[in-house]
Amino acid sequence: MAEKFDVIVVGAGPSGNSAAYTLAKAGLSVLQIERGESPGSKNVQGAILYSDALERMIPDFRDDAPLERHIIEQRMWVLDDESYIGSHYRSDAFNKEPYNRYTMIRSQFDKWFSERVKAAGALVICETTVSHLLLDGERVIGVMTDRQGGEIYADAVILADGVNSLLAKKAGFHPELQPKDVALAVKEIHFMPQELIEQRFNVKGTEGVVIEMVGKITKGMMGTGFLYTNSESVTIGVGCMLSDFKKQGTTPYALLEEMKAHPAIKPLIQGGEMKEYTAHLIPEGGYNAMPPIYGEGWMIVGDAGMFVNAVHREGSNLAMTTGMHAAETLIELKNEGKAFSAANLKRYQAKLDESFVMKDMKKYKNMPDVFHSNPQFFNDYPEMLSNAARTMLTVDGVDKKSKEREIRGTFRRRRSLFGLLGDTFKLWRAFE
């Protein structure tokens, strides 16, 4: 006989775990289904954990969560072929507990989170793929898995199945994802002894460094590179829009290889041993590309709902917050004795509108378009900037004033002064 639950959560990433945890803690019967061998085994992330979202659900998470390093320094680099120009922001304020940002390794973090989900009372089943949703007319009444006797019923299904949510697409909740709305990111973890990391990045204890990179490394494509320090490894990766990869005909792997060979980056990972290579999509279409996020008996949370702030590289915190709000919505309705109908689930959307989630999504809604139609941000500027820096810093008998003139000249030659002004304005508008 088929089993029935209050809620089925599909996926055990941060969004699914947050939803399942919150629901189970409130006493609802929850089944969580994950296709990976264990929660986190399929998940890829840089990865930075922004603690506020997690803290709201699990205030004592720092006691036993597998955190790697807390970040005390953020570097922003603009690279051209052989040099980089950048800013470093390091502050002792980041060294005051409780820390706000950590590096983590998703496979371990997700597993830890899942243990908390189980302890809260949810039933977690792994190595099982939900193949489609069971529908009664418009209403979702359960899921079908790839196992024999795979149908399972529930009053509501939360889709936390990550970017490119096939389930919602199959059920016709939203159309195919557009290549211009997703970035393809590749990432490697290189093992490196702790002592070497401390020495190389000038950190001690659990202090860590994040480097964000733009410029020639993406070959004019819209994207960024990143390098994070973990306890005994370094994460390095790069991501660009899928549509750009298609246009350029490059592979992300080749891009990462070139990036690792860059003279500014190579010494940072030298002597490391590659432990893991993974590729993953990031939904970066922003607010304008968001699918509907609720309906009759279903809700979408996390990456599946395009909840990613590409500009600030935030994803997991939005995933957790949306997961939590979705769960809270169901808990409230259940307590009020109301059905999980689309009309009632609207409350989920309202909660998100109230929170930072929708506010941020709306704030940056024009960013993707700005970048798409203005490739110079990833192309010309990095080179111009670094040329400028080189000109200024090269001591060759030319006076600084002439140098400034020369730099202005090249800037103007490459992009008219009007264009420069326009770009600044566009960027400012988009950020605003």
Partner: protein
Amino acid sequence: MHIVVCIKQVPDSAQIRVHPVTNTIMRQGVPAIVNPYDLYALEEALRLKDQYGGRVTVLTMGPPMAEAALRKAISYGADDAVLVTDRVFAGSDTLATSYALASAISQISKDMPVDLVFTGKQTIDGDTAQVGPGVAKRLDMQLLTYVSKVRSLDTENDEIVVERRSEGGVQVLKTSTPCLITVLEGNNEMRFATMANMFRASRYPVKIWNKDEAGIEDVTKTGLKGSPTVVSKVFAPTPRAVKAEIIQCESNEPGDLSVTLLAKMFNKHPKLEKEIAKRAV
């Protein structure tokens, strides 16, 4: 018919790294899996159960987290699961492990007599293939190692016929049950669990036994005390002093390779050239 399958949870050794400075094993983040060889034993047991009926109990000795391995076995269709876990077992070598497992199997058989004990060929961490023979001797059971196939089982007369891989071929052996069989890999493939068994596994109350519940009579035969072998040194293999000489060839033309590689190699290893010339056709 009652089959006990001994399984072990092991670190996925493909993912283990050695700390280059301290030379210790870095387990952090290394997933624990069911010893792959034990899955062949489990599947073979499940097939016999499908054919002859009865019960399959999985047994492991290990830390509390080894429960996950047992749960996995339940999801595949095992009926019952026993985890033997106690501080006294820490540091067990194969002799001490076989004592603990043998005691537990005796306890299990009080519930329902055990006809067959299955183990994997070997573990991927201990890699000794000794625990199976050890358990058999301690239980005074017939021992059949490297069994590739159970040909027939006569539950009436307590007889079993198996094919055993030996050095020069396959031995067909007949013996009486109860007996212990170590199952060779590659002759079956683990089934895909049903949804019902997945639910059963996640809810199943695995039996967790301490030393007394496992029927340990003599603690000095367990753990470090009961282990005649002692690891006196752990060290990293010395890396080869010189790395490969990379052959630079202008092209991959045979002529080029002849000059760049073969001439060079045979110059250094003249015996090798003769050896090859002698046998090659």
